[in-house]
Symmetry: D2
Subunit: 428 residues, 4 copies
Amino acid sequence: MRTRLVDNFATAPAIAEVFSDGAVIAEMLRFESALARAQARLGMIPDSAAAAIARVNRFEAPQLAEEARESASLAIPFVRALTERVGGIDPEAAGFVHFGATSQDLLDTTLVLLLRRAREVLAHDHNRLQRKLRSLSGQHAKTVMPARTLLQPAVPTTFGYKVAGWFGAIQRSWRGWSQAFDEGLQLQFGGAAGTLASYGARGPELASALAAELDLAEPAAPWHSHRDRLAVLVAHAGVYAGGLAKIARDITLLMQPEIGEISERGGGSSAMPHKRNPSGSVVVLAAAAPVPGMVAAFLSGMPQEHERGAGGWQAEWPIVTGVMQAAGSALNALANTVDCLAVHPDRMRANIEATGGAVFAEKAAMLLAPRMGRTAAQSAVAAALQAHTLREGLSELLTPAELRDLETPEDYLGAAEALRRRLLEESD
Amino acid sequence: MRTRLVDNFATAPAIAEVFSDGAVIAEMLRFESALARAQARLGMIPDSAAAAIARVNRFEAPQLAEEARESASLAIPFVRALTERVGGIDPEAAGFVHFGATSQDLLDTTLVLLLRRAREVLAHDHNRLQRKLRSLSGQHAKTVMPARTLLQPAVPTTFGYKVAGWFGAIQRSWRGWSQAFDEGLQLQFGGAAGTLASYGARGPELASALAAELDLAEPAAPWHSHRDRLAVLVAHAGVYAGGLAKIARDITLLMQPEIGEISERGGGSSAMPHKRNPSGSVVVLAAAAPVPGMVAAFLSGMPQEHERGAGGWQAEWPIVTGVMQAAGSALNALANTVDCLAVHPDRMRANIEATGGAVFAEKAAMLLAPRMGRTAAQSAVAAALQAHTLREGLSELLTPAELRDLETPEDYLGAAEALRRRLLEESD
Amino acid sequence: MRTRLVDNFATAPAIAEVFSDGAVIAEMLRFESALARAQARLGMIPDSAAAAIARVNRFEAPQLAEEARESASLAIPFVRALTERVGGIDPEAAGFVHFGATSQDLLDTTLVLLLRRAREVLAHDHNRLQRKLRSLSGQHAKTVMPARTLLQPAVPTTFGYKVAGWFGAIQRSWRGWSQAFDEGLQLQFGGAAGTLASYGARGPELASALAAELDLAEPAAPWHSHRDRLAVLVAHAGVYAGGLAKIARDITLLMQPEIGEISERGGGSSAMPHKRNPSGSVVVLAAAAPVPGMVAAFLSGMPQEHERGAGGWQAEWPIVTGVMQAAGSALNALANTVDCLAVHPDRMRANIEATGGAVFAEKAAMLLAPRMGRTAAQSAVAAALQAHTLREGLSELLTPAELRDLETPEDYLGAAEALRRRLLEESD
Amino acid sequence: MRTRLVDNFATAPAIAEVFSDGAVIAEMLRFESALARAQARLGMIPDSAAAAIARVNRFEAPQLAEEARESASLAIPFVRALTERVGGIDPEAAGFVHFGATSQDLLDTTLVLLLRRAREVLAHDHNRLQRKLRSLSGQHAKTVMPARTLLQPAVPTTFGYKVAGWFGAIQRSWRGWSQAFDEGLQLQFGGAAGTLASYGARGPELASALAAELDLAEPAAPWHSHRDRLAVLVAHAGVYAGGLAKIARDITLLMQPEIGEISERGGGSSAMPHKRNPSGSVVVLAAAAPVPGMVAAFLSGMPQEHERGAGGWQAEWPIVTGVMQAAGSALNALANTVDCLAVHPDRMRANIEATGGAVFAEKAAMLLAPRMGRTAAQSAVAAALQAHTLREGLSELLTPAELRDLETPEDYLGAAEALRRRLLEESD
């Protein structure tokens, strides 16, 4: 299924496909046939019924979306349609479709199954991205550039360390998100309101069998109106997307021609032939922008009434799948972008030099402080910065050796390389 | 274009259609041919070129969405594809496609044209809804029921007045939203960065001609990175949706069987044959739930860099069209729901009676206060409420006539009817 | 009352003062004494009672906040405390405090009265800001600079036009916000649940008298659980704050030393003596950042149950006053910042020149297109941009006169000046 | 420091105290003296300087908040003021205040230290709440009540199981939040831009010493503009608050007099003497309502520029401390509320009976399905529900024994008790 033009750049092809109608119906059918198999295995329904149900492995149901609006539940028209199809195969089996289950069992577990697929698509792009960041950091371990705070050059750093910072954040967020997937991808199976009463005493046994059929973890209890695990999953998507957007923002800023320290392969302009735009980063930022609002929407919907919410629960699908698609779109765009990033070490060094020594002001102040006190040192440095270069301005106060090395970026990198290595190692 | 199953209930058929790919491309073509016509009229391009451009009135471009990711702009592949098609008709005309314009002119104005269509769909359902609320209020001008504060019965009111409150909020919000549409549906036309320099001195003249061709208002200046009008439009959608959700919440609460004062036609349950669910209201609440987060996303994206933002602008389409669809879905569901609402005046009166006079406690306290002071009066009433009914509890303190009327709801409606009428009249 | 350190920069002194405890209590007392005066005038309570109530014009009640948590209402302990104080003056009058009114009448109207004061503080700073922007735009009507799209230089513009764009957005948003204040600052007075039943038939008459006493507009009906007007007021604060943040973002970007086109008076750094930070703009951005989330919170709370919400309503005070303070803090910081902005026309021109003619690429393509077709023209220009300057690259294709003027920014400003004037005039 | 009246109910006394000015300054001083001690231990500054710095253990600085607005940093006026005070004790020591550190080291680490204190306050109330929920669940393991879906009675459940569901969600969320605290409470120490260059090669050694002094975990590298750990901490607060609000919503709904299954000790009304409001739950809902928007605000601010953001970073304090206070206020109110909850098992059973057997419809359908097919069974049950009671309606179709037990709630609880135990055990 193609994504709609108006949804640019809120999704991307592979992650959109995970949530296509075909995929949704396939996972719904997977749930129903797994339920029937588990029930047959426990002797709750005839084997022949399970076999008939399993035979419905495709589904064309263009009217499902509209029918779902009537009952506020996609499950109701789906079960009706599936029952008809099963009845066409084996009339007796029709009575055993969705046997004893409730809409929410079907819909929540389907969402979980879809998220399991989404995780694979996301993992693929995350691995691409982190590998590239890791190697980029290594390549530029010694490439000096200005670190910037509040968009002002501060002190020298290395591009390798900057990239390691990006890498570290993304890796930590991915670990958190992975844990949230591990904990969130659990079977929902509770019957009408979480007691599994329609199965008498055998509900838990059936739940275990169903979880095994679907290869899903089984929670301590159904989670009808307790959405904390999904909330954590959605929130981690938001944190991860925030990390992607941070990288993209840095790229757009470094790619300003007046700074020119890196460049994307870039996209064009419909009006201006010369433009080389940070198109990839822009897609990342555009995709990530709505995510915080979606996270808020999910959290706002958590106070769900009693054993199944009236509104909050039914609002979840577009939010959860929207967050996954947005994060996936941003991730895909960033992985592609970082893959083709050109780095310009000459401009980085030139931008250090263009500060007239200002990025060494702290260094100078630290040299002078022990000799004249910190306040006097800072005043002396501030005065020196009025001169053409800091070196000139401090020619009376520093030793010749100090002056010679004063504006050597490599001499004022502190622990950049050690910290860079730690960030990479932490995530091995 | 069908809506995706995962997007249930975030959109609805008619409003989804407004933002279908076909509609998007149609409006993009409308912009380009209007631009060409206006330019031909002003002698900027040959008439023949305008004619050739106008001849491309359909478009199949399944790859547009993906190409747009490359350039971070749907306009670029669209203009390229249109240029090819025009070139097939008249090679010379190809050079005059999108002549002197910029991507943002095309995309922003297309969004405006789509919103103009959305407004019509919304207005249709709003009119249905407000008419029904108005008549429902009239029918139940004398139907007494308990007003409730903090979910506790407070004093009597009428269902007609309650509905008038719903009606008033919706009408006010609609007026605000309408004004936002009036002010927001303006041409965007500024060339590469808002100066219209590619048209020399004739830019403003061309802008006026183009606005006339499109029947759009013309702003004082292009609004590349000033998104306040769109923001207001989106925010009003949020306010309106909040009003819809308030009504839906009240319906779900009144429809609790223990209260049972109104009922929807209702939807069923896949597990429980007896259930009559507030399905319509649930769809309203589900559709409206993500809107506040989308409004926040739009507002967060407003600080767009310089003359065209790098991320914030490109994030807008899914947000703006998402808000319109969500509000439209909620509106459509509520209009349908209110259309089939059953009201149960007997249960309303019974619920008043079941309070044992508690909803007349204020009335009793107001009667007693002049005689014994307010504090004593409130204590007396509180004590009286421990009796079986308030009337019994106060039999020593009130006159027989007062006692007789004490628990007559019609006697303690205050200005309910006057205020009901005012709400309806205000919105005539 | 000082603002808390942790709330930096979410509020600012003058706007924080509007919402101080002293101000809150003063407005609560204003409501109660106005109510008593209106009731005395209508003969509902003795003149002496109104006089006694009016005499309580100060209040020390350090325990109010905590007591409010007990009853989920600040009104209840306040009315209790006021009743005690009035009783100390005139025991009989105590029974007429808050006579027939409800908590919500007091709290909502107090909020409205506080917002009326907030509006004055905001208007003061808005006027400062808009005046300064207007004059800055005029001073730099002819100061050329690069317009930038996606953070890349696009074509020339003027700083005056850029500032006019800022000005126009702020003025439009202010007008919208002002209208929202006009419509939102209305009396809330409905008694227990909106029927004014405690006043018998005289409720509307009393409401009018009370509105007159408070110099507030009177709505068609009480608005207990219909919060649309407040929502619009909050949303417009969000739109306005978004406009402020856009200006601040542009300033931070233009103040990057590599661009250096404007500078703030700036703040220092605790580590680096040389730093000149965009401190004012940073405060603007920091203050504005949480506003969208607060707008979402307000909108999410709109579906309030029946005649008084259980949670949504009680959540409003911190949100509404938080939005006003955040917007006020951002506004105050921006007005101060713009007041002291240094503009560097030489750097603006130098940045145009540093593009090697790239910002004139569109101009060149427009010159060449009529001669060689648009596609060929764009290719020729793209090729020419590989040369040292565009002028060199096009020396074979343009006439000497065209070449001479090619890279003159003043020659490619299009309608910048006309549009600048329109923006200023529109807001006269 | 008292909380402001307008901030009701966004904070509560104990958690507000954690973020009082006194506490903020105390933690800032703790950082500076720990830094000095660590530096003295490593021989970087004289012991006497460290001793002098440690002697400044109180601080009155009413002008700090305002000065912070000038420099967009609370650290700058704080360090200046501390330096003055230290200079008053030992002029030489003044030069060693905040030696080599940067504003962000101080501010981020102070925030972490404040959060460590907040965690204790939160843990205290969480423990109260979870203990009470656990015991409440145990007391009512056999108390039957209607489970409700979409606000409609569905099937029987037990109040003990319902409470166990609340308990389970809160415990899971607390575990997640605790882990987020464990991972988020880390030292920030990077010098001007994360390289620790001012300390030459000894930066990492000093960082370790400082972490030890403060008893904080030490991260792999400074996290100037990588805010993922804080984001996770904030997001988990949102998830936890959502769980609190879910419980509070259920309480408000169960406390509707028409349902009357539980009641809070309750608060009064300023107008109605009889009202017993769900005041505690209302405070919970009011406090929790703005949290999702704050989470969104934090996430939106994550794309921070380069090595220190210009706006996004400075926006964090009010958001992070606001989230903690809001969650803490909700938690405190809920712990108090649950402590005094009255449960009404008679009303619960009566509400089951009042459904006329409808909550046993699923049970009946499951009995009949094997005999007549599911569709026929559901039709038969639906028809039977039109009779006075389900039992009557099915008198022809079920056996006498089946009829006798049909409407016994205890006979249709399924696995409620087993699942209840699992939820409690899982969290031991």
